[in-house]
């Protein structure tokens, strides 16, 4: 799988871009605020239908697109991808429309010029993105770790993605109902709540099971790479799933162990969650939110048995995140037989000499990669000699010879 051409219309600071993309490593450089990050974001967005930086996708449309009061403004991203079965044409449209006094936003996806559901875009182009803020995955909020995990797992399993989006819809309805029950009492709503709870735990049972399996395979790759390549057998890293399938009175490790013992039986998992939800019902009604379920999951790193977040040095945390990224690549390769496109945004400057060298080695083994940097001097000359270079300047891209 290889990206051969990218064209953008009204995406971020690109009014119009037509870019042939070469194989191997492409180095994208330019001064600050010229569009390097936006370029990688576009490729990532076509692969995952998500932005790594925002949940408000209408922000991705170019500010200057359309005239004042225009009825419709469209942002377009198109990729040509060479695959084993020929060239694929992938397209995503971001459409903002003015209807009466309201603006609406929607997205359309096309594969080979045929309209498909957004989900069907997934899997046609696979990427692994590494950005400086990934270093915060270790120390940041559970919400950012879940978001990262979901995007990563969605690329690898479409069924997971569909179940997750169904789960989120049910959750939204259930939470709305809990809020109503807080205001109006439980009398008329109990039957409807039971129906939503039933659906919620059914979807949750599947998500817990799939997450447990996928995290397990990801963890194996990450642990192996960390041990063998990054620390030369000196440190053992563990990536652990922390499912929220019971109340906070139950130990997290115990929940995880229980889950791994029942991973083949989503029905039993659903039943356990249902029991836990019954216990927290009055609390949940007061809060107007569901306190148990995969939407509260987390995952953690441990080094030599200790929490990396609490006890790890900054350097150990960096190695873990680097291992995570290399593990993602290995996983996608194992799943599909093809390497993903590696996208590195500004990370070289953040890493020290040895880790930088590990990354450059990995980079040179990738069939296709794109890397951004404001500076070219931090790269070894022999590396520069082998890479294609693009200069980005105010939303325009030129190739440098």
């Amino acid at each position: 799988m290889r990206l051969t051409h990218l064209s953008l219309t009204n995406f971020r600071n690109f009014g119009r871009l037509d870019l042939p993309v070469g194989a191997g490593v492409t180095l994208v450089h330019g001064a600050n605020a010229q569009g390097k990050t936006n370029l990688l974001e576009a490729i990532y967005y076509l692969a995952t239908t998500r932005s790594p930086y925002t949940n408000q996708d209408d922000q991705l449309i170019n500010w200057d697109a359309g005239y004042e009061g225009a009825q419709v403004v469209v942002g377009r991203l198109v990729a040509h991808v060479d695959t084993a079965d020929g060239t694929r044409h992938l397209e995503l449209r971001l459409i903002r429309e003015l209807k009466g006094h309201k603006t609406t936003f929607r997205r359309e996806a096309l594969v080979d010029r045929r309209k498909v559901r957004l989900l069907d875009l997934l899997g046609n182009l696979r990427v692994v993105l590494f950005v400086p803020t990934d270093l915060d995955l270790v120390t940041g909020s559970p919400a950012s770790r879940r978001r990262y995990l979901d995007i990563t797992l969605c690329q690898r399993n479409r069924h997971y993605c569909r179940t997750l989006s169904q789960y989120n819809k049910i959750l939204e309805q259930r939470n709305a109902l809990l809020r109503q029950m807080a205001e109006q009492g439980t009398r008329n709503n109990q039957d409807v709540l039971d129906l939503y709870t039933q659906r919620l735990v059914e979807a949750a049972g599947q998500i817990f099971a799939i997450r447990a399996r996928l995290i397990d395979t990801l963890a194996r790759d990450v642990q192996r790479i960390h041990y063998e390549q990054l620390t030369a057998g000196n440190e053992s890293l563990r990536l652990l799933y922390r499912p929220r399938l019971a109340g906070s009175d139950v130990d997290e490790t115990e929940s995880a162990d229980w889950l791994y013992n029942h991973v083949d039986n989503p029905t039993i998992i659903a039943e356990r969650m249902q029991t836990a939800l019954a216990d927290t019902l009055s609390y949940d009604i007061r809060r107007g939110a569901t306190s148990i379920g995969p939407h509260r999951d987390d995952w953690v790193f441990q080094v030599n048995g200790r929490s990396l977040r609490h006890y790890g040095s900054r350097g150990q945390q960096r190695s873990a995140v680097l291992a995570l990224k290399l593990g993602e690549i290995a996983g996608i390769k194992a799943d599909t037989g093809a390497s993903p496109i590696l996208l590195l945004d500004d990370v070289m400057a953040e890493l020290d000499g040895t880790r930088r060298q590990h990354l450059i080695t990995a980079l040179q083994q990738m069939p296709q990669a794109m890397i951004t940097s404001a500076e070219t001097t931090i790269f070894p000359p022999d590396f520069l000699a082998q890479t294609e270079q693009l200069a980005v300047d105010g939303g325009r891209v030129h190739s440098v010879i």
């Binding site: 209807k99 069907d120 569909r162 709305a176 109902l177």
Partner: protein
């Protein structure tokens, strides 16, 4: 532009703009089209149609569909099987099912589906009316034909629960492959449901 235009013109532009799918531009275009009067009688016909819409339509007290007469044509048609009720969300769903020509029973229009997010609960739909109708009438079957969305499915489950202690048979529309659809390109949810709803051939 606002103060140079006469009030009646502004008013019509404003009213058009309240319709779904119509922005300020389209609203002005429609208004000026009517004003120029190129299509003789259009404005008068339109205003008569609008008046008739509110004066001569009502809801059928049996099935809650919109109708000119009460009970509606379907409910008063003795040729139709009055013992089978098909439950739908909206009047337009009745139109769609009639177009299939495969159903000869009567309808019950709920006027929506359960959706806590939009504040729609059982009391906001014609659900009590349906239960009453089934309990008092002489029915063989209730077909639940709500949409295959989360809201439609939940509404169907709710109705199934409420109808559990009546003697009537309750069925749900089968969900399957779209006609002309390729199995290879069908997502696993649709395919799974099509398998569940398969039929005996011999």
């Amino acid at each position: 532009m606002s103060n140079v235009l006469p009030k009646p013109v502004l008013r019509l532009i404003n009213e058009f703009g309240r319709l779904p799918g119509i922005g300020p531009k389209t609203a002005s275009r429609l208004t000026f089209y009517l004003l120029r009067g190129n299509d003789a009688g259009l404005a008068a016909d339109l205003s008569a149609a609008l008046a008739e819409l509110s004066e001569n339509t009502q809801y059928c007290t049996a099935c809650h569909n919109i109708t000119e007469q009460n009970p509606c044509e379907v409910c008063s048609d003795t040729e139709r099987d009055q013992q089978v009720i098909c439950v739908v969300e909206e009047p337009l769903d009745v139109v769609a099912i009639e177009r299939s020509r495969m159903f000869g029973g009567v309808y019950h229009v709920l006027h929506g589906a359960l959706s806590p997010v939009e504040g729609i609960g059982p009391d906001d739909l014609k659900i009590g009316e349906l239960i009453g109708r089934v309990q008092q009438g002489d029915f063989r079957e209730v077909i639940l034909a709500t949409n295959a969305t989360l809201e439609g499915d939940t509404t169907a489950s709710y109705l199934q629960m409420r109808l559990a202690d009546t003697a009537v048979r309750v069925t749900r529309l089968a969900r399957g492959l779209p006609v002309g659809g390729d199995i290879e390109y069908t997502d696993e949810v649709t395919l799974g449901r099509a398998l569940e709803g398969r039929r005996e051939l011999k």
